[in-house]
């Protein structure tokens, strides 16, 4: 299935290669580089690239291209999903998945890749199993190991491999037993020029950090489970109980994992926490334009909007921006043509505003294309859909665990369009 893997950074340096079958020359990546060149933006690289003898399936994550080499028929999603799992495993092991951490831990990375695939077919991808086979690095352990020469590698088969709950390792023990759940919701929305919702939906996940001894059997229930439209679960969740009782019943993996993800569709009305008033216009003559953006709260359920950032992708002819912001800082990058206004916390008493002039390439005609405006924000202690965890019960163990649920709402792909009607004003 998966023949080889190459890791390539944004600058086009190939910094790691791994082969699960016979070695494939790294020159195969030239086809990738060609496609990368053509795509301009890293996101636009086609996920499947066909070469005379191979297929390259790649993902772009954390500024790294994971390029896998395939020789025969395989569902592309299978490979893509696996590559994401590799990235997640690195993240889990090293705290972040970046070129630096991968290079610093190259031996562990190699050991992991060796365990994750055998002959190109996934062998062990569960974090709990991998951690028994290869222990994640800690400063203390690496020091001890250097001195004593002891190893990071497990000597026996992880218990999970043979049990019917492969995701949990056996013999888990904690002095403080705790279970934390983060309900994270992201609003994906498209608003039109006036701020009216064209389309909005919520993508939610429940991330868990469970540190409980023994074999706890947990049940998580919601006040309003009917809200959840389209759900997918970690393999530990019992589908049947969800189908019949709408509760999440599971024996958790040890440590951090994503319990479930869900989708609340556009059919339900999605609250939009802020409004943006903007006016970006270019003059017919004089190679200049004007910009005026104001942001204010809309449906925030009484909570504070934080980490507010407005990003505008400007037309190519915009050379620079001379603006003033009543709050936060702005930066215009003339290379990427991105205007970034970092507002921070939104104060309802004093609404932030950014305005000033834009200068264009001299002699260039007024740009035809419209800029688009993306919004990033965060609201603590609120799940914008109104989803609420009712209770968490534990069976199978005697101790009393400490439980916690946290809610947070973020902007996902939250975009306001600055375009106007075109076909209506027909002049012909």
């Amino acid at each position: 299935m998966i023949h080889s893997l190459f890791l390539i950074n944004n600058a086009g340096d190939l910094f790691l290669e791994k082969h699960w079958k016979s070695v494939i020359s790294r020159s195969v990546c030239d086809y990738f580089f060609e496609a990368r060149e053509k795509a301009v933006e890293p996101d636009n690289v086609p996920p499947v690239i066909r070469t005379p003898h191979h297929y390259l399936i790649n993902i772009y994550r954390e500024k790294i291209f994971f390029v896998s080499v395939i020789q025969t028929e395989v569902p592309p999603l299978f490979v893509i999903e696996f590559l994401h799992r590799v990235a997640e495993t690195f993240q889990d092991y090293f705290g972040e998945c970046s070129e630096t951490t991968i290079k610093d831990n190259v031996v562990i990375v190699y050991e992991l890749l060796e365990e994750m695939l055998d002959n190109g077919f996934p062998l062990a991808t569960e974090s709990n199993i991998l951690k028994e086979l290869i222990r994640p690095p800690t400063i203390l352990r690496s020091m001890v190991n250097t001195i004593t020469g002891s190893s990071n590698v497990g000597e026996t088969l992880p218990t999970g491999q043979l049990s019917n709950i492969p995701w949990r390792r056996a013999g888990v023990k904690y002095t403080n037993n705790e279970a934390y759940f983060d309900v994270v919701e992201e609003i994906d929305a498209i608003l039109d020029k006036s701020g009216t919702t064209v389309f909005a939906e919520i993508q939610g996940v429940i991330d868990a950090c469970v540190k409980l001894s023994g074999m706890p059997d947990l049940t998580l229930s919601f006040m309003n489970p009917r809200l959840l439209d389209d759900v997918s679960f970690h393999p530990c969740v019992r589908y049947k109980r969800w189908e019949s009782e709408r509760v999440i019943s599971f024996i958790p993996p040890d440590g951090n994992f994503q319990l479930m993800s869900y989708h609340i569709s556009a059919q339900n009305l999605v609250a939009i926490p802020i409004y943006v008033k903007q006016n970006i216009s270019f003059f017919e003559t004089g190679s200049s334009g004007r910009l005026d953006i104001a942001v204010g709260p809309k449906q925030t359920m009484g909570k504070t909007v934080e980490c507010l950032v407005v990003t505008v992708h400007m037309p190519k002819v915009v050379l620079s921006a001379n603006l003033s912001a009543t709050q936060g800082t702005y930066n215009y990058d003339p290379v990427t043509k991105i205007l970034l206004w970092d507002i921070g916390k939104l104060n309802p008493q004093k609404l932030p505003n950014l305005k000033g002039s834009l200068s264009l390439q001299s002699g260039a005609p007024k740009p035809e294309e419209n800029p688009s405006l993306n919004i990033d924000l965060k609201i603590q202690q609120l799940a914008i859909s109104g989803l609420k965890v009712n209770r968490l019960d534990m069976y199978g163990e005697k101790y009393k665990p400490f439980k916690g649920v946290k809610y947070v709402t973020k902007a996902g792909k939250f975009q306001q369009r600055l375009s106007e009607w075109l076909l209506v004003h027909t002049e012909v």
Partner: protein, 942 residues
């Protein structure tokens, strides 16, 4: 001027050359130096590593290996270290060992001879008590791509396939495709291993063996039959990657075995003759039902696999659950709205979906959405959007004018690409109703002065030529301009100029005759031969000469015929012949190793091929195990248990023996549901092996339960008559005691009943009624037989608890018309089932029985000479016991217990010198004991 320049230049040049030469030399020197230094460093560094590898400190070795692996990861060549590294393959430190493995797998192919040095270490590893070490030894051994070791690999795979650890068996499954790609000639042997592993009941192995199946022998679907239901049932517990592979394989399987659930809809009303109403095969339903919950998987590949399974296999009405193919995506229209930040390929796909979803009801929303896309900064996407508008306009008549007007507006866009794309689309749209749009054609004619994109120019010229009668004044003028610029145009434009000239010549030769001739002359000497050819061809066709033939008369008809309007097609058309979600589907080209999805069969193949003998349905065997070696420990225990029995009291039972019997135990457990034939054959082999084992253990007389099972069904089981053909009015019923455990209730005797319908009509609703039993006796009826066609036999199994008595069980056998009184009376031997005891235990139990109460008479056996094999075969066919010990052994012991109460029955036969034997039966139940003695003696004397 030029002279002075060259003079000055000369001096300058010389200076420059000198300078750069010196610099070059310096650089070269430096480069050389660097090269030499780095070469020295390289050697030195590797020496350093070699030294570390040779040291006896694990920490140094580990450090060296880590550095080497880092080199491999960066793609640096470390092959010269091979000898130093391979020495450490047997290192005690497990991390060093693992890194050596990594190195070996990487370089073994290049250094085959040296790699062979490591093989013995792996062979030793394959026998390690630690299953992780066994597994990784096999993993590495099978990953070393050295052809010489193919036989060793084959042997290792075969052994690992019957390892007691499922993890090792999984590794064996992984090794199969490796060996296959190394040496395809091993295919037949590998298929045998695949067949064996397919029968494995653990979820851990399932995904991997199906993967091996897909790579080695995807066309052998016959291997799947017996495992089909098991795979369906295990599916939910298999790890996610295995799920994807299994689902894809089962999709293909289903397409060969079941009928098309949607066929009724399309075909029945076409065929006149009546079809049988479609009934879904329960196995087909099982697959659909068991995959459905996986739609909730976190793994997108699993969800996609289920989606494609439903798409290819489900009745149309059910396809909706996988998110709504066809019209069902409509409620999700807005989910496909495009953001400027989406990657281009996503934008194009979303656009495609939106275009396909467009209909009269939603077109205005969709068009409004499309308009915003035209202002995007992504030009490829803008072009695709314009085409999408064109497609909507052709598909939905109501909006054609709106779209056309909008597109015409785009003609004044500053971006040439936008204009060009619009022209192309407008051209196609205009072809539908040209007469209403002469103003647009005029507008386009004006554009020819400004537009440079060849495709757009060509489109405009074609349009003017085609509809020159709508623009009689402009057309000749355009031709005039084009004649002027002809030589500078692109080829496609030139062809269209010729085209335009020809059409004008035919309709308006007065004004354009000279222009046309001029254009044709230019074309005659063009560099491109297509254009030269075309010019020659057209000249012959349109300009009448004495040589020109009949075609000339029809030139006008040929050129100005009414052309059908083009259909604007989706770029994603015609990919439905690939399995959804496959790589081939995505690329719309067959990738290597793609397995065609077969068409549904006309008539369903025999569904009974999927029947499995074992009555209880397959359940997941994975149990939570504690202890480090999990299943290994448990299996070892049973193993030891049975080997003890095999070697009986013989203390000197050697290690090799127990090894042998371990294998047997393993395979016996696994083969339970294999075909009957095979079973017999294998079991015979096993019996032989057992015999040998027993010979070495001189006085062994107690046998394992496995042996007992092996013999019981193979002996001729006596059939008894329950209902004669004549009394039963054509229905004949026979029964026998199958000597298999009755799984729904272990305290019942299994009775196998065979119905044969000799009547001329079907027998319906065969069932049992009104059982009249002695107190305590119980009966478990067979499930009612709905329909039995003429001339066919049906076999069912029922259970009867006889309470360890030989009393008959009476009941009525009912059909839909008649009732028959029947009774079943068991011979005493059928009331017991074999059990196993060690010789010591046997003696102990016997002692207890003797001293207690039920000591039996000792009968002298009437047989002459030794206890012959004939008698033993009697034992095996009648009393459910065991095969013979060797003739030299004077004492035979058989152990059994009654089915209902589990009370021990011990039979001892002692042969005497000079013929004759003595028979002793020990049992708490008096009646049973006496009857058994009587029966045995009677049988022996026959």
């Amino acid at each position: 001027m030029s002279l002075s320049y060259s003079c000055n230049g000369h001096i300058c040049e010389n200076l420059l050359v000198m300078d750069s030469f010196v610099r070059f030399l310096k650089e070269r020197e430096q480069e050389q130096l660097i090269k030499i230094l780095s070469f020295l460093f390289y050697i030195f560094r590797h020496d350093d590593l070699k030294e570390m590898l040779d040291s006896n400190k694990d920490s140094l070795k580990l450090e060296a290996m880590k550095r080497i692996v880092a080199m491999i990861a960066r793609g640096k060549n470390a092959s010269d270290l091979f000898p130093a590294v391979v020495k450490n393959v047997a290192c005690k430190n497990i991390e060093v060992k693992k890194l050596v493995y990594v190195y070996l797998v990487r370089y073994a192919e290049e250094q085959q001879d040296l790699a062979l040095l490591s093989i013995s270490t792996f062979q030793r590893g394959l026998k390690d008590p630690n299953q992780l070490i066994r597994a990784s030894a096999l993993r590495v051994l099978s990953s070393i791509r050295v052809t010489i070791i193919v036989p060793i690999m084959m042997l290792a795979i075969k052994e690992a396939a019957s390892d007691m650890s499922p993890y090792v068996r999984k590794t064996a499954a992984h090794a199969i495709p490796k060996l296959h790609s190394l040496d395809p000639e091993q295919k037949d042997q590998l298929i045998e291993v695949i067949e064996k592993l397919l029968a494995d009941k653990t979820t851990l192995v399932a995904g991997s063996v199906v993967m091996a199946f897909e790579e080695v022998c995807p066309d052998r679907i016959d291997l799947i039959h017996k495992n089909y239901r098991k795979l369906c049932n295990l599916l939910i517990d298999v790890e996610e990657w295995g799920q994807v592979v299994i689902i894809n394989m089962l999709t293909r399987y289903a397409r060969t075995q079941f009928l098309n659930p949607n066929v009724n809809v399309s075909i029945t009303h076409m065929c006149e003759k009546k079809r049988k109403p479609y009934v879904m095969d329960p196995d087909h339903r099982l697959l659909l039902r068991n995959t459905k919950p996986l739609l909730q998987s976190r793994n997108a590949a699993v969800v996609m696999a289920v989606a494609q399974l439903y798409f290819h296999l489900a009745p149309k009405a059910e396809v909706g659950i996988i998110a709504k193919a066809l019209g069902m995506f409509e409620p999700y229209l807005k989910s496909f709205y495009i953001r400027s930040t989406d990657p281009t390929q996503i934008k194009i796909l979303k656009l495609e979906v939106l275009t396909n979803l467009a209909n009269e009801a939603n077109i205005s929303t969709i068009l409004r959405e499309f308009q915003t896309y035209i202002k995007s900064m992504d030009k490829d996407f803008v072009a695709a959007s314009i085409q999408a508008i064109g497609r909507c306009a052709t598909n939905i008549g109501e909006v054609r004018d709106t779209c056309l007007n909008g597109l015409v507006q785009l003609l004044s866009n500053r971006d040439e690409l936008v204009v060009a794309e619009s022209v192309v689309v407008i051209k196609k749209l205009l072809q539908m109703q040209p007469e209403q749009h002469s103003d647009i054609i005029k507008h386009m004619a004006k554009l020819i002065d400004n537009i440079q994109v060849p495709m757009a120019r060509a489109s405009i010229l074609w349009l003017i030529g085609e509809y020159c009668e709508h623009v009689p004044k402009i057309a000749p003028d355009v031709l005039r301009k084009m004649a002027k610029s002809f030589t500078n145009e692109e080829d496609i434009v030139k062809l269209q100029i010729i085209n335009l000239a020809a059409k004008l010549y035919l309709t308006n030769s007065k004004q354009t005759k000279l222009l046309t001739q001029y254009v044709l002359n230019l074309a005659k000497y063009d560099q491109n031969y297509d254009i030269r050819d075309r010019a020659r061809f057209i000249r012959q066709l349109i300009v009448p000469t004495d040589k020109s033939g009949a075609l000339n008369k029809y030139a006008k008809k040929l050129f100005l015929a009414l052309k059908p309007a083009p259909v604007l097609e989706s770029p994603f058309k015609d990919r439905d012949h690939f399995q959804l979600g496959s790589l081939s589907h995505l690329l719309n080209a067959k990738a290597a190793g793609y397995q065609e999805l077969p068409d549904w069969p006309e008539s369903a193949p025999d569904p009974s091929v999927r029947n499995v003998e074992v009555k209880d349905s397959v359940c997941a065997e994975r149990t939570v195990l504690t202890g480090p070696e999990g299943a290994g420990v448990l299996l070892l225990q049973t193993t030891r248990g049975s080997s003890n029995i095999a070697s009986g009291s013989d203390e000197s039972g050697s290690g090799s023996e127990s090894e042998e019997s371990r294998e047997e135990t393993e395979s016996e457990e696994e083969e339970e549901d294999e075909e009957e034939e095979k079973k017999k054959r294998k079991k015979l082999d096993k019996t032989k092996a057992k015999k040998q084992a027993e010979e070495s253990a001189e006085r062994c007389a107690i046998h394992t339960i496995h042996q007992i099972r092996t013999i019981a069904p193979s002996g001729s089981i006596k059939m008894y008559e329950l209902l004669h053909r004549i009394t039963g009015e054509g229905l004949a019923v026979e029964y026998c005691f199958s000597r298999q455990p009755f799984s729904p209730d272990p305290n019942m005797v299994a009775v196998q009943i065979q119905f044969t319908n000799n009547t001329n009509s079907e027998t319906k609703n065969l069932h049992i009624e009104d059982p009249r039993l002695q107190s305590g006796m119980r009966i478990r009826e067979f499930a009612e037989i709905g329909l039995q066609p003429t001339g066919e036999s049906v076999t069912v199994v029922m259970g009867i608890d006889f309470c360890d008595s030989t009393q008959a069980a009476n009941f009525q056998l009912c059909t839909h018309t008649r009732k028959f009184f029947v009774s079943i009376q068991p011979p005493v031997g059928e009331l017991m089932t074999p059990t196993f005891l060690t010789e010591n235990n046997f003696k102990k139990e016997q002692g207890e029985r003797t001293s207690a109460h039920s000591r039996f008479n000792t009968h002298s056996c009437p047989t002459d000479c030794s206890f012959s094999s004939k008698h033993l075969s009697f034992f095996s066919s009648y009393v459910v016991v065991t095969p013979p010990p060797p003739p030299s052994a004077p004492v035979y012991r058989f152990a059994g217990k009654t089915v209902s109460s589990g009370c021990l029955v011990l039979v001892t036969v002692t042969t005497k010198e000079g013929g004759g034997a003595q028979l002793t039966v020990n049992c708490e139940k008096m009646v049973i004991g006496t009857m058994l003695v009587k029966d045995i003696l009677q049988a022996l004397s026959q």
